[in-house]
């Protein structure tokens, strides 16, 4: 009986602590989600008397896919560039994390350098840097990479790739958090395994592929998810800009803008599902657990 009361008490205290979130979620998340889903099936006109809604059914979505001159194209271009950007960011983050994890001096300094952009990358500042050409890596132009891509690749894929090359540095700027996550993962690998492997004559190259990489595999998944969400939700891309433009256009309005937002969310969700399906399998041998 006493135990029952103690449990009940714990339950109530728990609810008390999470109640701010619960209220906030209902007010600023659940209700808006319901409302915007509802709006996306309507034509919405806002006048001084209030909101006037006309039921449209799937027309907004049909219009987005079949008639909208820009949305689908922008969305596809963005998805393509994200598909290029994710591996670039992940590989770069892993490389830098591996370098910093070596026994070097001034570790803190290098960590600080590579984390710096996280603090200053607001969409607007980054856009400004793009516009002034500060973001292009100076080396790329020299070796004819641009021409190579232009002549050898289909423009529908070549264009996004060229865009990325032109903005390479700033894209790499989106890897600050990922570097830290990889570093944390690397630091948790048991160093005895490395010693044992090198005594057995494994080269650093083999150690990387057979020990380091498998043990930070969970962190790769975390990083891919983080990168995807980060890229899709920052204001760098034209798709969300388009959504905002449609909000205040009289002929499209809030209803159409919300349906665009929902399509956008569905894309993110499907992409994340694919990522988890590919990288989430946990059937591999994990030396980190074996070492314990």
């Amino acid at each position: 009986m006493r135990n029952f009361f103690a449990k009940r008490r714990e339950m109530m205290t728990g609810y008390m602590f999470v109640s701010p979130w619960l209220i906030g979620f209902l007010l600023f998340m659940a209700w808006p989600i319901y409302f915007s889903l509802n709006l996306s099936f309507h034509k919405v006109i806002i006048s001084s008397e209030g909101i006037k809604k006309t039921w449209l059914g799937w027309d907004n979505f049909k219009y987005a896919f079949l008639s909208d001159p820009k949305y689908l194209e922008e969305l596809l271009t963005f998805i393509k560039s994200v598909i290029f950007m994710i591996p670039i960011i992940i590989v770069f983050a892993m490389l830098v994390a591996l370098l910093i994890n070596q026994p070097i001096r001034m570790k803190g300094f290098f960590r600080a350098i590579f984390f710096l952009p996280v603090v200053i990358t607001s969409g607007q500042v980054v856009k400004e840097l793009f516009a002034q050409g500060a973001a292009a890596a100076p080396i790329v132009e020299r070796y004819g990479i641009v021409q190579y891509i232009q002549t050898n690749m289909d423009p529908s894929w070549g264009e996004p790739l060229l865009n990325i090359i032109n903005q390479l540095i700033v894209i790499l700027w989106y890897s600050g958090v990922q570097i830290l996550i990889f570093l944390a993962g690397l630091q948790k690998v048991n160093t005895q395994i490395y010693e044992a492997a090198s005594i057995d004559g494994a080269s650093p190259w083999e150690i990387f592929w057979k020990i380091t990489l498998p043990s930070i595999k969970p962190f790769i998944l975390v990083n891919i998810i983080y990168t995807t969400v980060d890229l899709f939700t920052n204001s760098l891309n034209d798709v969300i800009e388009l959504i905002k433009v449609h909000m205040f256009q009289i002929d499209t309005g809030f209803g159409y803008a919300t349906s665009l937002a929902w399509i956008y969310f569905t894309v993110i969700f499907v992409l994340l599902l694919i990522v988890v399906a590919i990288f989430g399998r946990n059937d591999d041998y994990n030396p980190r657990q074996a070492g314990r």
Binding site: E10, M11, T13, G14, Y15, M16, F17, V18, P20, W21, G24, F25, F28, M29, P32, S36, L39, I46, L95, Q102, P103, I104, G108, R111, I113, F114, L116, V118, V119, I120, S122, G123, Q124, V125, E128, L129, Q132, A134, A137, P138, I169, V177, L180, I181, L183, A184, Q187, E195, S203, V229, T233, S235, I243, K244, F254, A261, W262, Y264, F265, I268
Partner: protein, 328 residues
């Protein structure tokens, strides 16, 4: 005698050989190291890579700073690459005027410090609830929190806009502060996660002993738990501050024309520049916008963040270590 000499020579040769091998081994060890990652060559490669990648990484910032000091002559002069001939502060004065710096700086502070404070406190409470108590529906709620992380703000933005409009909150920091008070707002899912992971590492016995001394759950939280959670609190506050500071998408939507934060002012830089300086044509000297002035404006905007980073760099970087965000 002769025999002795040959054996002696032979012995010397033997010794030379073994010395050579030993020296060779030492050189090899020096260059390549014992374990493959402690030799000098490896170290040189690591430092070389780190320095060159690091340089490329901060290149846009260096470029921006160098460019912002250039006068028009320097800008057009191809021989001037990194160091301007003179430190041309005029760009900054112009950008200061165009950005209306003091006013927009105040707006930026208001719209980032207040929501950040609210978020730091509310997310701590919620994170503690998830970390330490068992209650039905906990896992569902936690899944919902993770869900909110991937929902783009565009989905809920319009209903929220209408809601805030209805209550006359547009044009004030309230649309940011109020959701933040309820553990919502920019990236709050991440902050709840950070706190939850952090509080989990605090041993249960600490709270039990506080409870034995007669402290209630709230009192325990504020008197015992919060004081030892300074690392997590600082990390959440700093990130919340920075992310609110950098937000332009929802800021320009919710604040409209009544208040402009620094990044929003940068968005309208060209427009407000021509408003500020087109009249000066009358006085004979024509002022044209050029990229140096714009980049000076950009420098002014990120300068407060750079200064903050300089002092709080340790905290920013230790987010993963200190709070165990990656989980286990």
């Amino acid at each position: 005698m002769k025999l002795e000499a040959t054996t002696f020579r032979k012995a010397v040769r033997e010794m030379d050989k073994s010395m050579l091998i030993r020296i060779g081994y030492k050189i090899k060890k020096f260059l390549l190291g014992k374990q493959g990652n402690d030799g000098i060559i490896f170290k040189l490669v690591v430092y070389g890579l780190l320095i060159s990648i690091g340089f490329v990484y901060v290149y846009p910032i260096l470029f921006m700073i160098s460019q912002s000091f250039k006068s028009l002559d320097d800008l057009l002069d191809p021989t001037v690459q990194w160091l301007p001939k003179s430190l041309h502060m005029d760009n900054f004065f112009k950008a200061w005027v165009v950005l209306d710096f003091m006013k927009s700086f105040g707006a930026s502070l208001l719209n980032s410090v207040l929501p950040a404070l609210a978020q730091t406190i509310s997310c701590a409470l919620v994170g503690y609830g998830f970390a330490k108590f068992a209650f039905p529906g906990k896992n569902v709620m936690f899944a919902l929190i993770l869900m909110t992380f991937i929902i783009p703000v565009q989905v809920v933005m319009i209903p929220l806009f209408l809601l805030f409009q209805q209550y006359g909150m547009l044009g004030s920091p309230l649309p940011f502060v109020i959701p933040a008070l309820f553990a919502g707002g920019i990236k709050s899912a991440l902050f709840i996660l950070i706190y939850t992971q952090f509080f989990r590492t605090i041993p249960k016995s600490l709270e039990e002993s506080a409870q034995l001394d007669g402290a209630g759950a709230l009192k325990t939280f504020f008197r015992i738990i919060l004081p030892i959670s300074v690392p997590a609190i600082v990390v959440v506050f700093l990130f919340s501050l920075v992310w609110h500071w950098n937000e332009t998408y929802t800021t320009s939507l919710y604040l409209g024309d009544s208040m402009s934060t620094l990044p929003v002012m940068l968005q309208q830089f060209d427009l407000s520049f021509s408003q500020n300086y087109s009249s000066s044509q009358v006085s004979g000297q024509k002022v044209n916008i050029n990229e140096s002035i714009k980049l000076a404006g950009t420098v002014l905007i990120i300068l407060p963040l750079l200064i903050l980073y300089l002092f709080a760099q340790k905290w920013f970087v230790e987010v993963v270590d200190k709070t165990g965000i990656t989980g286990e």
